[in-house]
């Protein structure tokens, strides 16, 4: 094996704590699903009830509920109840920023 202790030390010097990287990848994993991304995008214009989301996305109400729970667990969306209806909305200023940064990357020339 060739020597590269220099590079490794350099990397270790600013070693991030594993915990932060774990949280980070877990967060991005939530964004890394088309269904959830579509939900987030839908909510970026207005709050919506579960019923409306599933109708809009033409998806099973149950599937949407499951994904909303994931989003909520990661504090990306919040909800309020009004009678039988539950309205969801984006719950963090960063949500928009993160998506926008990603968008800049994917929209670059091939």
């Amino acid at each position: 094996m060739h020597d590269h202790s220099g590079l490794i030390h350099s990397a270790e010097a600013h070693a991030a704590d594993e915990g932060a990287l774990k949280k980070l990848s877990a967060l991005f994993k939530v964004f890394g699903d088309l269904t959830r991304m579509r939900i987030l995008y839908a909510l970026s214009s207005t709050e919506m009830c579960v019923c409306a989301i599933s109708e809009y996305l033409k998806m099973d109400q149950s599937a949407v509920s499951h994904q909303l729970r994931v989003l909520k667990n990661h504090r990306l969306v919040a909800s309020r109840r009004e009678g039988k209806t539950v309205y969801y909305r984006l719950d963090d200023d960063h949500v928009g920023s993160i998506i926008r940064q990603g968008y800049e990357h994917v929209s670059e020339a091939e």
Copy 2:
């Protein structure tokens, strides 16, 4: 079913093209893995060869190679060859920005 055509129209009004959302979620999916996140973080301080990365992360060389390919396919890293050795580095200004935005989210008070 209760009526919410208003909400749906509002969402449809600014409807993103499905393609962009697909690309977006695919991009975030790449960030959504601890191994890849660790590689990206390691490379944020300096370029490294595959050998050094796998030693630093204490991972199989093959596993690292596989993940580097994923990262490269999404243009998140680039490589240069020097003899037998291949050095990888980050390949987009957005990579850092995206990770930083995510970091702000996860580092918020519980």
